[in-house]
Amino acid sequence: MTQNILEMRSITKTFPGVKALSDVTLEVARGEVHAICGENGAGKSTLMKVLSGVYPHGTYEGDIVFENETVEFRDIRDSEAKGIVIIHQELALSPYLSIAENIFLNNEVKGPLGLIDWNRTNQEAKKLLARVGLDEDPVTRILDIGVGKQQLVEIAKALSKEVKLLILDEPTAALNDSDSDHLLDLILHLKGQGITSIIISHKLNEIKKIADSVTVIRDGKTIETMEHKDVSEDRIIKGMVGRDLENRYPDHTPHIGEEVLRVEGWTAHHPQDPSRVMVDSVDLSVHAGEIVGIAGLMGAGRTEFAMSLFGQSYGSRISGKVYKRGVEIKARSVDEAIRNGIAYATEDRKMYGLNLIEDIKRNISMASLRKLVRMGLVNDNEEYKVANEYRESMNIKAPTVLTKAGQLSGGNQQKVVLSKWIYSNPDVLILDEPTRGIDVGAKYEIYTIINRLASEGKAIIVISSELPELLGICDRIYALSEGRITGQMPVADATPEALLKLMTLEKQR
């Protein structure tokens, strides 16, 4: 009766302690390109995982109706059998296998004896590649072709499964301009062949170009769905950010002093692919007692900038100048960066920040062991005392400092990471997503700590995906897009709308 190919009705998905999706409704008409917009963490990916069966039926509430039939997927195979294929941002291709092998992975073309028929495999692959406009030999290994072409292989793989609904999660995030254009054209071309697409994106010009309708999601809720004719950047941005700002941030009166850090023309290239510029001549300055925010969407180069600055721990062919209190410093290793009073608290504490099998004490002392050395030996009593002081002053909730870092909650782990860097006594503290994955109460504590550090005269850079957070705690905010600083404003002048505009500002083509 309806021409909708997909209806997701009142989807609610809860993780321990977090409501990721709350009563979300999504209707996709047959044969259209439907865009889903939202900030990082708004719930877009969670919604797609519910749809594709990554979160199986029973772990969420609500109904999914696909082709007028209520479906209950137990896993991805179930959803793929119905013709729903999702292509993730991180491509799921095996680099050492050929294009053809990847296309038919787990869907192999078999001969009479159950053995793989390689001739037919390659022949079928060739046909699929032609449909996506990729002129490559099917026996080419995946790692020998670029990301743009890999994306096309993913789509060819989807076509091999007789896809009816194709979901693309930020498909152009890692692509250059011409590859992006080709991909968007392909999506329109597939639409002509009757394939419905859902595209998750926050590149607004892209959405305007190809989407027939747009659904905006914010804080796990559907805000609105609009037709192509009604789509405007302002309306989308307003939908994406228009949340009420509660009093979630402690008061903070800035006492801004002299300039502590100045970065000029900072440029860094991708470590494996030096032709890709990840950080593009960034100019930035931070003063004593100032909290400076860096706003940028995923892939804008925020972490890449911070890590390349922090002793060149990211990137290749790094150039540019760094001045501390007017004197140029060169920090080519993390150790030199620490000695020069720079600290960087990573966005991924478990992977890059903590030794989870070690205790709190040794995690805190890790970056400053030399301060504890007496006559060539680490004074472990002193270490215990220092750690205990941080446990109390930072309110790390653990019975003793001998508790393993892996046993702490996210908020307490973050406090351990902050303690480590505060103990290294830096002048400049770069905090990358300092409140990611921690609960609201602990967030408030972290903000209080950041304020305290600023009032002690530290220069602080906060990188965050959450605009309200930046607006709540920073004194000044830079916007980063495609590796470039696209603007800056004092927080008094900053609005989410203005920042998002800068954050989505793309290079002139």
Partner: protein
Amino acid sequence: MSDTATKAPASSSGIKLPSTLSHIVSDLGKNGIFLALIAVVVLFSITTNGILLRPQNISNLIVQNGYILILAIGMVLVIVAGHIDLSVGSIAAFIGAFSGVLIQQVGLPWWLAIIGALVVGALVGAWQGFWIAYVGIPAFIVTLAGMLIFRGLALITLGNSNIGSFPEEYRALGNGFISFAGPDAAIDFFTLAVGALAILALIVQQVRTRNGRKKYGQAVDPTVWFIAKMAFVAVGVGAFTYALASFKGIPVTLIVLAVLVMIYGIVANRTVFGRHIYAIGGNRHAAELSGVKTKSVDFWLFVNMGILAALAGLVFTARLNLAGPKAGDGFELEAISAAFIGGAAVQGGIGTISGAIIGGLIIGVLNNGMSIMGIGIEWQQAVKGLVLLLAVAFDVYNKRRAGASTSR
């Protein structure tokens, strides 16, 4: 402020029995490997009708396993950093042969030959460390290649023959005893004096550590338990030195070993280098982003392993008074087993010098006990393999249980 967070460490007076008891239980749990060693010793004392604990046999146990224990010290550090070294047996063979050439063919004095051999051991380690740390080839591959390369070099150095009859001073490294008793004396009082001194030094050191911790408000063992442990250690060391004193005195190998254990115990726990090894093994990325020079640590770790492998080769050659082509065969596997039985984690980040020594002693007692019982080499192999598997399985099981109860 959380109420659980600020509680002072439990009173250390040790009068409250229930808490003392639970402390003892948890302490014993942490030292399970030590209990395992005692269990193995008791088991084989019974099955060998006490032969295992005869003075001569105790002395032999040390001398026979000295080179494995030396290797285990280096190996556990390599494993903590997340690597492995398969080449130590071949390096030991090569260095043993090399020292023979220096003495027999070049005519160097014994002490210069030993220094030269250790320097070449360091160079061998530097060679492997270079490939592992700076080229980024996995240690498994580099040392597998090293196992072949240095076995080959050992054979080339020997030139199809054995090198035998080393000077007496050199041989002392593996065979010598320090004793001032005459040949007729039933007991060597010098050895007993050294033993008494060792006990005293150990107790003083432990008391000082304990007082230091108390001063900084750290939890320490309840007094009763602390005294009991000290008494146990004193009796153990006392009985051990009495056995040595009633045989030939203190083996030189034991002195070498004792010095190494002391030095490396401090290196592992109290130096920046040692801390960096554990940090790298626990989370290499986090260590790097905390300013640890991971490549340099990896490099020096293998230089160190090369020196210790060379030393083990010297001790072994000295003991046999012979540098032969089969020397060092399988040493790497015994050293690796010692580290893992002693609680080192396969993923790195966990492991102790003392654990590796105890692991090595367990293997040594198994070897020795089964030999006395007349069990064939084929069964000895199988039993040792099984013990290694069970020890690691027990460890994994324990960790999983702990992980399940504490994970969030």
